[in-house]
Amino acid sequence: MNKNNFNIINFLKIYSEDKLALFFLINLIIILGLVIFGPLITLQNPYDLSQLNILDSLLPPLSQAYENNYFLLGTDDQGRDLLSAIIYGLRISLYVGSLSVIISLIVGIILGVVSAYFGGFVDNFIMRVADMVLAMPSFLIALVLLSILGRGLENVVFALVMSQWATFARVIRSSALSEKEKDYFYSARCLCLPQSRIIFGHLLPNCLPPIIVLSTINLAFAITLEASLSFLGVGLPITEPSIGLIISNGYEYIIVGKYWMSLYPGLFLLITVVSINIFSDRLRILLNPRLNI
């Protein structure tokens, strides 16, 4: 994709050639809208106890409330509207996921670029540490860290960053290494530009495509990971009810046939993650110059 003819409309045109990808992009935008404007459109604030009515508890989907509202997806054991709880939960999940990706991205960019730029001992050291992190499954790293640190939002973000930074550092290092051999990089050095400007003004923008794709993939991954950890009871505390906690709340009711409390939050999580994954898959195809004819 040439920089000169790159604009958002062109991009959307090429992007929407794949109808499935377009469908999921629209999905993603709807979810983002729901998440951003959530408090304005939900039936109630599910965590404001004064708005809950215990008479409404455990109602199946599409049932009428004690006070004339309809619960589209039913209610949970506290009489909470499940749809509102899901939207609030998605907010927390997406917040934690994107925060952890942004921090891992920053850490990864710094370490990756430093590694590629300076080489030698620094490079060796950073990459050996990254290899060690990559050798362990990220789920296990996060689980162990959380078991040591305990539940909490900052702890979850920290654990997610610790299990993800190495992937970013590796990818950024390898793309920076290949960019380093190109002519524009040599000319920038010959011009005696300051190092920070070479790195941030020249090297980094050219490494962007793989970074963007990796970030979207990792966002989906971070959301799932956080949900799994919260489900197991080592992730977010009950005061920050993410989608994983909502699902785990409904777990005990599955056996007695009250399926909706786990089914629908999971479906929302699934749709979010699938949309992000398909978006990133399409981006990967579009941004890969090898496949771009």
């Binding site: 499954p137 162990v144 949900a227 777990y251 999580l269 699938v274």
Partner: protein, 323 residues
């Protein structure tokens, strides 16, 4: 080969040592098991006695060296909670976890490779497109939620499969396995399908990508020109060529699955290592946490070594150099 093996074993040993120090320091630095273990109404004297018995009065380094000394004897400490050697606790549950991960991996391989081949050969027809879309879908499925849905569908709504436990087991060499009894096999179905979805998606995509890259290569054209049958080209030429990345990923996935078994085991109440570690985390049973992590790291290194050795069998061009 021999030098390669000794080198690798020495390397692995150093990594294991480094990991043990890291894990030990991390687990011991934060969280005080005394608060959990000792009855709050116990007298000061009793408290001190328990602390001394557990060896918690010594400094971190002293504790670590005692731990190392015992580790060489094959003991990884006593569980605070169960009051039994941690390593025995873990090894007792290892067969259950291995049974689960291996059956999940087998499901992924048996279905993944053929589906990937079908999609790779005709990437543009509808079947292939739906296989690929399905693989992205499987990638995105949160394991724990799929577990719940499986229980909901097959255990609660239609009573096809039991949802918890291992069922009947048979003892072989002192270990208990459930895949040899009909009841045990029925118990194995849901958890292994649950665990298999992610590696299945990965293997489908990997096989697909491998075939896409290999099909335009000369040796395939040559095989076609020789008039070999399509079946022979696919099985003997194509698959053999793309097997190396697939074997690597299967090896890596094996370790990942052992970690992810934690989720599946807690949902299906499968009595494996994963449930043990979750219990130990909530009870701050340090020796079990440390021993679990070391056993896991050990399994990882073993699997990686086996994968490296397999390479040289799959591709004679890769010689294991004795450097």
């Amino acid at each position: 080969m021999l030098i390669f093996l000794t080198n690798r074993i020495i390397q692995s040993f150093i990594v294991l040592l480094a990991m043990s120090l890291l894990v030990f320091a991390a687990v011991y630095a934060i969280g005080n098991p005394i608060d959990v273990l000792i009855n709050p109404e116990a007298s000061e004297k009793e408290k001190l006695k328990t602390i001394k018995n557990l060896g918690l009065d010594k400094s971190l380094f002293e504790q670590y060296f005692i731990f190392l000394k015992n580790a060489f004897k094959g003991e990884l400490g006593y569980s605070f909670v169960h009051n039994r050697p941690a390593i025995t606790l873990i090894l007792e549950r290892l067969p259950a976890t291995l049974e689960l991960t291996i059956s999940a991996l087998l499901i992924a391989i048996i279905f993944g490779i053929p589906l990937g081949v079908i999609a790779g050969l005709n990437p543009n027809n509808l079947v292939s497109k739906s296989i690929l879309a399905m693989s992205i879908f499987f990638f995105s499925l949160p394991t724990f939620w799929v577990g719940l849905i499986l229980i909901m569908l097959f255990a609660v709504s239609y009573n096809f499969f039991p949802s918890t436990g291992r069922g009947d087991t048979i003892e072989i060499f002192g270990f208990y396995f459930s895949f040899l009894t009909f009841d045990g096999l029925k118990h194995l179905v849901l958890p292994s399908i649950n665990l298999a979805l992610y590696p299945l998606a990965l293997i489908i995509r990997l096989t697909f990508a491998g075939i896409q890259e290999t099909l335009p290569l000369d040796f395939i054209k040559f095989a076609k020109a020789k008039g070999l049958s399509r079946f022979r080209i696919i099985t003997f030429h194509l698959l053999k060529y793309i097997l190396i990345p697939i074997v690597t990923v299967i090896g890596l996935q094996f370790s990942v699955l052992i970690a992810f078994a934690v989720i599946t085991e807690s949902i299906f109440a499968w009595p494996g290592m994963g449930r043990l570690i979750i219990e130990s985390i909530t009870l701050l049973d340090r020796p079990v946490i440390v021993a679990y992590l070391l056993v896991i790291v050990f399994i990882f290194m073993l699997v990686n070594l086996i994968v490296d050795i397999l390479y040289s069998f799959l591709d004679p061009r890769i010689r294991i150099s004795d450097k």
